[in-house]
């Protein structure tokens, strides 16, 4: 095993990981980014429509309006201390991103261009939509990732590309580092660090129809769960309303922000029924359920499970300048020119609201509450701070990654200087290595792909936009069967270099455990809130369920706990749009 030593180890090279790396390196630390794909292939590059900050470049705006929208968008399950901090810091963070080089689109006055997005309104939700999403055409993720990556190179951040992190090394004194598999060469590496940050992204790949990259298998969350630490609010999975049918590719909310309409088979703008005031720009959970409702009522296009997203009435030039990537994607895959024909869309799994519980310094919380796990941090989609609560607003995720990624980087830089390296836990390393070796030497008796596909298909079916007790119980039973089958997967005889199958088997382990966590949390929550909709409990129940779920795993047994929501300013109210 090859050993490395760095002051700060960051797992994941998306916006969250790179923001942290940049801040920590700026403060003079020796920082290593370890990621299973080169940073420019991270899923953050897929973010399209923009990133949220109440800059007020186009019309008056305030962080407090953004705060209110984020609270209401989260269906009052977000922690308001974190939400307020986020909305305030989003403004300086947007300027920071501009200063380091993000190629934002510009208004005539030379300022960052902003546009409408779902869930973002003026005057504490009472006013009309507001232009709050800072855009770089429809490529905001790519623009931010490339800029952060370049600046990290300038500060000599060390990148370990195509290294799959397999275990976090955890002892009583805290996290001493990680184990990672060098995918290209097929070797095990040990990274010893004073501080470790997980910025490993979400797990929406658990679902068959998903906007997510193939790599979004929730590895960081899976490792944390396996280490006996809790995950928070895992039942809240966002389904994006508009993904290109039948592929599931993201069609940004920006398309609706620029004026796109949703139409059913009869050509009706059906959002008039579901959200009479905010229409297509209601929060995502509401729009996704509306589309699902139309499809189930037989009003999908030609009875099929999709509806139309129509932008044929928009100016050709606007489409080409502000939505160029989406136009190209629709042309390439569906063979449709969106100026001439409506785009076929359906909801797809998109985002993990829950994750590793952290405080606002991004320190991982041991019992999910106050006590921290020394030297272990998490940020971005894999973490839950919680600003998204039960439903995330569009454009809040890229900004969350930047705001909290920077906070993690700064905090690690501050405390790292006073620390020494912890000794590595040799027993854990031996165990971890044995796990990999067993897989590599086992003769296969079952198909890896079959297990994964069955899991993804049934998660969509049984634990999707609409859930109930019987579908969730069915899913739990299926997961147990798949976990038994998993023990029969073997990789004997695979070549050492670029063993894609090994990566997939290790990902599948996390996928199975995370699925069980999601289903158990969903089964327990007997109410409907945000993205979690129980057809057998269709209303929100603040009396019993205004609380965060925590789930722990130990030797295959799962245990639930709960903690209160932090409410500082806005009391829960009925959520109408």
């Amino acid at each position: 095993m090859i050993k490395h030593k760095h002051q700060i180890i960051i797992v994941g090279g998306g916006i969250a990981g790179l923001s942290a790396a940049l801040e920590a390196a700026q403060a003079g630390n020796d920082v290593a980014v370890v990621s299973k794909v080169p940073p420019l292939r991270s899923h953050s590059v897929a973010a399209q429509g923009g990133t949220a900050a109440a800059l007020g470049n186009m019309e008056p705006d305030s962080w407090e309006w953004h705060f209110y929208d984020t609270v209401k968008g989260s269906d009052f399950l977000g922690d308001q201390d974190a939400q307020a901090l986020f909305c305030k810091e989003a403004i300086e963070t947007a300027y920071f991103l501009e200063h380091i080089g993000v190629p934002f689109s510009r208004g005539e006055n030379g300022r960052i261009l902003q546009r409408h997005f779902g869930g973002h309104y003026s005057d504490f939700g009472k006013g009309p939509y507001i232009k709050r999403s800072c855009l770089a055409a429809d490529r905001i993720g790519q623009a931010i990732v490339y800029t952060l990556w370049g600046q990290c190179l300038r500060l000599r951040v060390k990148f370990y590309k195509e290294f799959l992190v397999t275990h976090i090394l955890l002892q009583d004194e805290g996290c001493s580092g990680i184990m990672a598999w060098d995918i290209v060469r097929g070797e095990m590496h040990i990274f010893q660090g004073k501080l470790t940050l997980l910025a490993t992204g979400g797990c929406a790949r658990l679902f068959k129809i998903s906007t997510n990259s193939a790599i979004n298998t929730g590895d960081g969350m899976g490792m944390v769960l396996a280490a006996g630490l809790p995950l928070e609010d895992m039942e809240f999975i966002q389904f994006h309303p508009t993904a290109l049918y039948p592929w599931g590719f993201l069609i940004s909310e920006a398309v609706r922000g620029e004026g796109g309409h949703l139409l059913n088979q009869d050509g009706e703008r059906f959002m008039r029924i579901y959200a009479p005031a905010k229409l297509e720009l209601a929060p995502r959970d509401i729009v996704s359920r509306a589309i699902q409702g139309e499809i189930q009522a037989g009003r999908g296009i030609r009875g099929k499970p999709y509806v139309y997203l129509d932008i044929t009435h928009l100016e050709d030039q606007l489409i080409k300048e502000k939505l160029p990537q989406i136009r190209q994607m629709v042309l390439k895959f569906a063979g449709i020119d969106p100026k001439k024909q409506p785009i076929p869309v359906a909801p797809a799994a998109h985002y993990t609201m829950g994750g590793i519980p952290i405080n606002t310094n991004c320190e991982v919380l041991k019992n999910g509450k106050k006590t921290i796990v020394p030297r272990l941090f998490a940020t971005g989609e894999c973490a839950c701070v919680s600003i998204h609560g039960a439903n995330r607003l569009g454009t809040n995720s890229t900004m969350e990654c930047a705001v909290f990624g920077r906070r993690a980087g700064k905090h690690m830089a501050k405390i790292g200087k006073k620390l020494d390296f912890l000794p590595l836990p040799q027993g854990q390393i031996k165990e971890g290595w044995e796990e990999i070796n067993t897989l590599l030497n086992r003769t296969p008796k079952t198909s890896l792909a079959e297990i994964r596909e069955t899991l993804e298909e049934r998660m969509t079916q049984n634990c999707g936009i609409l859930r109930d007790e019987s579908s969730l119980k069915k899913q739990l039973e299926l997961i147990h069967n798949l976990k038994t089958a998993y023990q029969e997967i073997g990789l004997k005889g695979m070549p050492k270099e670029y063993n894609l199958a090994l990566q997939e088997v290790l990902e599948l382990k996390h996928m199975l455990n995370l699925s069980e966590a999601i289903v158990r949390c969903a089964l327990a929550r007997k109410e409907s809130r945000g993205a979690h909709y129980r057809t057998d409990f269709p209303t929100r129940d603040d009396k019993n369920w205004l609380k965060h779920t925590l789930i722990f795993e130990e030797n295959g047994t799962y245990k639930l706990d709960y903690k209160p929501v932090v409410i500082t300013r806005f009391e829960p109210e009925e959520r109408q749009f």
């Binding site: 899923h43 380091i100 993201l250």
Partner: protein, 229 residues
């Protein structure tokens, strides 16, 4: 719809040289080449390739399909003939099967300093940039770093020190940015790096770019800037 795939296989530990393996597959009309690779891989776990986003924005899955460098995730099977030959991206050393070592591309991009350099203190709010100034970055900042252009460049094949179109399009992106304050240093280093003057205007890069960008135009823009500005 049946398609016959000939996929180039190579495992450095056991193969002396690459060889072709044939797979016959029943395919759906909506499938792209990546879908076919995933199905083949599900039955033959030893097949190695790269992939991530699946919709043409991450640049991971670039390979050579019937002689053209393309993204596997964006190439529809319906648009291809019945026989499909798949090779790794040419011009690079093969790690295994369809996976190549893109280190030269990364090194060259790093060599051109792919980051905004500013010396003056930034304002409290954003730096101003007019839409006309921002427009000069279009067709440059949207490069997805897949390497299709560099892998199609005969000059790069002959000389791995040649910066190549991927790095040069990045160089142009930063030289064109109205906010950058290191233009003279950039020009000075581009003058001496093996890049701008070695390009033989073969245009393979233009043809290869899956995003429809024009690296050659970027090279010409850089030459003009260095010679005349």
């Amino acid at each position: 719809m049946h398609k016959i795939f000939f996929i180039q296989r190579f495992s450095p530990a056991k193969d002396k040289r690459p060889y072709w393996q044939k797979y016959v597959l029943k395919c759906k009309p909506s499938w792209v080449v990546l879908d076919a690779l995933e199905v083949i891989h599900s039955k033959d776990l030893s097949l190695a390739y790269r992939r991530a986003c699946r919709h043409g924005i991450c640049g991971a899955c670039v390979i050579n399909i019937n002689g053209i460098n393309r993204l596997a995730c964006e190439t529809r099977l319906a648009d291809l003939p019945d026989k499909i030959k798949i090779k790794p991206l040419p011009g690079f050393s093969i790690i295994r099967d369809l996976v190549v070592d893109l280190t030269p591309v990364y090194e060259h991009v790093e060599a051109i300093k792919p980051y905004l350099i500013t010396k003056t203190k930034p304002p409290i709010k954003e730096r101003l940039q007019l839409p006309s100034e921002r427009k000069r970055l279009d067709g440059l900042y949207d490069c997805i770093f897949c390497g299709a252009c560099t892998g199609a460049c005969p000059t790069f094949w002959a000389n791995q020190e040649f910066l190549g179109p991927t790095a040069l399009i990045q160089a142009c992106r930063f030289l064109m940015d109205s906010r950058d304050e290191a233009k003279e240093e950039r020009k000075k280093s581009l003058r001496v790096q093996p890049g701008l003057w070695q390009c033989h205007s073969i245009f393979n890069c233009v043809e290869a770019c899956p995003k429809g960008l024009n690296p050659f135009k970027a090279i010409v823009t850089l030459r003009k800037a260095i010679l005349f500005e």
